[in-house]
């Protein structure tokens, strides 16, 4: 794994603002790209662990991660800066769009442009999941848990609450069991 570096307060805010503003189709893919690949604040593994915890807490996982990552680097100020960065920019854009909506929706080209972006964003999000899976190299039983979550959400369309709360205890148990078997207590 490559070396990581600690962001300054300004870098934390700007990095999160970028994720928010570029986050078409949700911010999860951009969040990983910026934190792990572009800025290298965290390793793939550290980021995934924080995101995993953000997933079982209520609220958006990237939003929960912004609180935890901000806190890790700069305490309360860091948590506030990261969270404000994540929401302030897109909120402004969204209000602008809502105000312009009537003219905007019918303008030629706009619908096709958004349609093209949506297709690209879908490809980006699927690739992000695959890339994380490859870089993290989970053992087979955890790969199975990930695939069950994917099928349950994308194809069976089960409620996320049900998926998360039934799979979380199994995933945690399998992962702890493997760790203890591979390195028995001294």
């Amino acid at each position: 794994m490559s070396e990581t570096r600690i962001p300054s307060r300004a870098e934390l805010f700007l990095g999160y603002a970028k994720m928010g503003l570029l986050g078409f189709g949700g911010v999860a893919a951009w969040s990983r790209h910026i934190i792990v690949e572009e800025k290298r604040w965290l390793t793939e593994r550290e980021y995934a662990e924080i995101l995993g915890m953000g997933q079982i807490l209520p609220g958006p996982n990237v939003g929960n991660a912004s609180v935890m990552i901000g806190r890790r680097f700069h305490g309360l100020v860091g948590a506030l800066l990261a969270t404000c960065g994540l929401y302030a920019g897109p909120l402004t854009v969204l209000m602008g769009l809502a105000l312009l909506y009537d003219n905007f929706a019918d303008a030629p080209g706009v619908a096709s442009f958004m349609h093209g972006i949506a297709a690209a964003a879908a490809g980006m999000v699927i690739a992000t999941a695959l890339k994380m899976g490859q870089n993290l190299r989970p053992p087979p039983e955890l790969i199975a848990i990930g695939l069950v979550a994917l099928v349950a959400a994308a194809f069976l369309r089960l409620p996320l609450l049900l998926i998360v709360f039934s799979l979380a205890p199994i995933g945690v148990w399998l992962s702890i069991r493997r760790a203890y078997r591979e390195a028995p207590a001294k």
Binding site: G20, H33, M68, V93, L94, I126, A179
Partner: protein, 172 residues
């Protein structure tokens, strides 16, 4: 004042059951805003949610837009705070707890056990987006190019998003 407080309360309640983000609580959001409180009709609700999906940023911002529609800037502030504050406070304390437990040997493996769920659900949201976005061969092509580009390179995905938008304008 009472309306603003009601808005805050409605979204704070949603926030605490929103495991998986805004899309997960869409049905409950609809029930609260349209059926229980009657703050907007079905068509407005759907339109606002679609608009928030099309714009960049976390999908949870749909809540802000709805608050704005119900009660202007005050409604926007209350909906946003209601949606973010309870979850953020919880995340803050959980981060503190994991920091205190950092020496425990079960902690890292336990955290890693949650990772496949997060990654699997990112994959699932990509598939859900793909289902809505791929209506003809060109959108499939854009999706595949974007997938390979993001999967195999470390370049900024901004290039494929912009390229996808440009191809859409030129050919769709």
């Amino acid at each position: 004042m009472t309306l603003l407080f009601q808005i805050f309360l409605a979204f704070a309640t949603l926030s605490l059951v929103a495991v998986g983000g805004a899309t997960a609580v869409l049905p409950e959001m609809h029930r609260l805003l349209v059926v229980v409180h009657g703050w907007m009709d079905d068509a407005t609700f759907t339109q606002l949610f679609a608009l928030a999906q099309a714009a960049p940023g976390p999908n949870i911002l749909a809540a802000s837009l709805m608050g704005w529609n119900i009660a202007g800037v005050g409604g926007l502030a209350m909906a946003t705070l209601g949606m973010l504050l309870p979850a953020a406070i919880l995340a803050w304390y959980v981060a503190g707890a994991t920091h205190r437990l950092r020496g425990a040997r079960w902690l890292k493996p336990a955290q890693f056990g949650l990772v496949p769920i997060a990654v699997g659900l990112i994959g699932a949201s990509g598939i859900t987006l793909a289902r809505a976005a791929t209506t003809e061969w060109l959108t499939w092509m854009i999706l595949v190019i974007s997938f390979v580009f993001v999967w195999r390179t470390k370049y900024s995905p901004l290039w494929v998003l912009a390229g996808g938008g440009a191809l859409g304008v030129a050919l769709l």
